[in-house]
Structure formats: structure tokens, C-alpha cells
Amino acid sequence: MALLEVQNLAKTYRQMGGDTTDAIGEISCKIEPGEFVSFVGPSGCGKTTLLMSIAGLIAPSAGQVIIHGKEVSGPPPNLVLVFQDFNKSLFAWRSVLGNVRFGLEARARRSRRGEDKARSLIDLVGLKGFENHYPWELSGGMQQRVAIARALAYEPEVLLMDEPFGSLDALTRLELEDTVLQLWEELRTTILFITHDIEEAVYLSDRILLLSQRPSRIIEELSIDFARPRNQVITRSQPRFMEIRNRIYQRIRNESAPS
């Protein structure tokens, strides 16, 4: 049985004044444990809605999300979402260490070992030495690392990431891509990743699910089988990399074009 299954998920938002927006038309997919799966699609296609529904933060209008055979009806206990707006998600009143410890506290692990674990995670995301800094003192990339460390402190089975590098500059993005891959390889978490950056998706994932324009559905599924560990230079310079990337690009362009 798959770890996570999305079954016929649909979401319609009702606006004031009676207008409705169909964000998600019908999405179904299965995620196996340990996979790195990315969702890619044109902007406004409801990717965030999809992730929020899987995370149990939004109730779907139809369909369900099943994790370990149980239907999701609220935030599931073994899953964490890393938000795009890290500056709105990090706790400004806690230091880096405090934020990461929050992940542990949420798991009810408040012990001496807890502090050590937090420190090792901070080291893992490359922020050693910044434990006592406050979020506002850090750059965007560093802040997102804190958010990731905090999420990992929770030891989730499934990690959802909503365009986590969307607001960062290109170089930082590349750095963090490798950081995430490193963490994923070490911790063997299942990751669901949203990005609008096609090449990023191709670089990171085992599988890419392409979403259509609103109301979204999955229009194609691609298996990405480049060798791991991936490398920014080697992997990306393979001819097949560009082929896949172009294919996705064309598909999405056709989706966005007015019909």
C-alpha cells in the first residue's frame, strides 16, 4: 500500500458575492515511502491548495487524502509543511535554536537530548554558529534553512515543501537544492515538493507530476531517473536533462495558452 494517496481531490473556493473558483478539478496520485515527488504547473493552478489539502490545513470540497490507510481530516501527526513565506512562518520571538527546538517540543521531546538534537540539525542545514541569532538577523536563505531544520526536528514521515526557494536569489536556490537533497538522502523522508522552477524539479525529483491550469488535474507524470547523488554541473549538463525540461516547458506552455 502506498504511504500517501490522494483520491479524486477537488477544491472549490467560494468568494463573497457568490462567485466560485475551482482551484482543483480532480487530482489523484499515489506516493511511495522515500520518494521525492515534485508538482509543477502554471501559476495559479492550485499547487498550494493541493499541498495545504494534503497537509490537512484545508478541507477538500470532494475526494480525500489517505495516509497509512487513514483519511486525513486535520493536520496528520507524521507530516509537516514548510511554507513559502518563511518570514511569516518562523517565530520571531525565538532564536534559531528556539525555533528548531519548537519542532522537537511539538513532538513532545523536551529533554537534554532534545537540545543536542536541535544543534545537530542546525549544523546539518549549515547554520552552525548561528544558534543564538534571531530570524530577522539572518538572510532569506538562512531563514528558510531554519524553517527546514525546524520541520525536520519534528521527524516527519512526509515533508511538504511549498515553493520553499521561490523568494530567494538564484545562487542561494542552488545551494539549498543540494542541502535538501543531502537531508533527504540522510533522513530518508518522503518529500512532496512544489516549485515553478522546472529545472529545479527535474534536478531534485524521482517523479514529476504536471498540473494543468485551473481547475487543475494531473496531465502528465514523468519519471526522473538520473543517477544519485545528483550534481549541479554533471546532472544538469546531461542532454536528457534538457529534453525533459523542454518537454515539461512545452506542456505547461500549451496549458497556459488561451484555448
Partner: protein
């Protein structure tokens, strides 16, 4: 803004000049002396009143009423504010009542309080509580209502229940707003205590000042004014110190914003 080290010669000299004008102007004109006794005489009265213990007694009474009123108001207002800010239902229910009572100056409640509680400590503390609740309540509601959705969703994705979210996320995030309200209430509370003492009291600094005015003891009156102002100043300083200590994480953030 100049940083500390340079002493404001011009400012202090102007101030000293004014005091000297006051001192000698008052001495030269006997008619003026009954309204505006020389500074030296005021200071002498102040000293005598303090040593005799008379003024200290009034001070303690005012201070005690202030503390009771302020602390009680703060507790009520913060709790109520969080509830009304967080639970949409509760807020919409009470919104009309709040909007109706807000524009009415709190001092208008003094006659009602006298009716209900006579004159004395209970009445004075009651009106102080009533008046001091408003700034804290409004600011707390404001702070909680304007919390980023993402922040609350972060709490939820980490599996926190409602109570934990209120305590670990909402309260610290709304703290700056709450503190602003508490600071405003500080002055309001002192104003209400002294006012109530003037209108319907028989002890306390407010009463003392008015009483001395009625008996034409102007230097005693001014001595009282000086003392109550000093009280206000000290309370304010203590608050700022406490705020700085409690909100350490903000200090740096605010400094940065002001660049």
C-alpha cells in the same frame, strides 16, 4: 538623534533659566506668590511633607490603588482580548457593544461608580479598571486578529491543538501589540486614579492636590504636583525597562527598522 554622550547644555540652561526667572519673579511680586510661590519654597514644602510622612501616606494610597487597578485591568483585558481576537464568533457578537462603549470617555463612569460603591478604594479601583481595560483590550484584539494566517497554520502543521497554539504562537506573536496597549494604559490608570481622588476621594495624591488648592496652600499643592509627576515618570521608566527585558528579541529588530 544624538547618542547619549553629549550633554544637552542649551536645553538644561534654558530650563535652569526659566526656574531662576520663576524663583526671582515670584519673590519680587508678593501678589504672585500666592499663586506661584518661588521654586525654593515649593521644594522646601516638598521636603517637609515627605519627612512628616504626610505626603508619603497619600503617595502610597495612590500607588496602591494604581497597582490594583492596572494589574487587574491588564489581566482581564489580555485574556478577554485574546478570546475576542481569536474566536471570530465571539468578536462579532461583542463588536457592537464595544463600538458603542468606546467613544464614551471613561471618566463619565465615575458618578455611576460613586453611586454603586460610594467613595473610597473600591470605587477608585473600579473606575481605574474600567478605563485601563480599553487600550489593552483594543490593542490585544487588534494584535491577535492581525496575526499572519501562515503563523497559525505553522502551529497547526506541527500538530498543536488549539490551546497550545494560543499559548505558544498567538500570545508571543501578539505580545508587541499587547505591550503597546499596556503602555498606554499605564498613563490612563494613573490619570483615572488621581481624577477619581479629586472628584470623590478623601485621601491620595489627587485629593491632596485639590485639597491644598482649596485651602490656598499653593506651595503644598505644587509639591503634590511634583510628586505625582515623579511617580508617573518612575512608573513609565520601570515599564520601559521591563519591556526591554521581556522583549529582547524585538530590540534589534526595531533598531534595524529605524535605519
Amino acid at each position: 538623534m544624538n547618542v547619549g554622550r553629549d550633554f544637552n547644555w542649551a536645553g538644561w540652561m534654558l530650563f535652569a533659566l526659566l526656574l531662576l526667572l520663576w524663583e526671582f519673579g515670584s519673590r519680587l511680586s508678593p501678589a504672585l506668590q500666592s499663586y506661584l510661590p518661588p521654586v525654593s519654597r515649593i521644594l522646601r514644602s516638598l521636603g517637609e511633607l515627605i519627612i512628616s510622612g504626610q505626603l508619603v501616606r497619600h503617595l502610597m494610597i495612590t500607588l496602591s490603588r494604581f497597582l490594583q487597578g492596572y494589574l487587574l485591568a491588564a489581566s482581564i483585558a489580555v485574556i478577554l482580548g485574546i478570546v475576542l481576537g481569536y474566536f471570530r464568533m465571539a468578536h462579532s457578537l461583542f463588536e457592537a457593544v464595544i463600538e458603542f462603549l468606546r467613544p464614551m470617555p471613561s471618566v463619565a463612569i465615575i458618578p455611576v461608580a460613586v453611586l454603586l460603591l460610594g467613595i473610597g478604594d473600591a470605587m477608585i479601583v473600579a473606575v481605574t479598571v474600567y478605563a485601563s481595560v480599553w487600550p489593552v483590550l483594543i490593542n490585544t484584539i487588534d494584535g491577535v486578529r492581525h496575526l499572519e494566517r501562515t503563523l497559525i497554520d505553522t502551529g497547526r502543521t506541527f500538530g498543536l491543538n488549539r490551546r497550545k497554539i494560543l499559548w505558544l504562537v498567538v500570545l508571543p506573536a501578539a505580545a508587541p501589540y499587547i505591550v503597546t496597549g499596556l503602555r498606554i494604559s499605564l498613563s490612563i490608570a494613573l490619570i483615572l486614579v488621581t481624577t477619581a481622588e479629586m472628584i470623590a476621594g478623601s485621601r491620595g495624591l489627587g485629593f491632596f492636590i485639590l485639597d491644598q488648592e482649596r485651602s490656598m496652600n499653593s506651595s503644598n499643592m505644587y509639591a503634590g504636583v511634583v510628586l505625582v509627576s515623579a511617580l508617573g515618570y518612575v512608573l513609565n521608566r520601570l515599564f520601559v525597562l521591563g519591556e526591554g527585558w521581556a522583549m529582547q528579541w524585538r530590540r534589534g529588530m526595531l533598531a534595524r527598522e529605524s535605519i
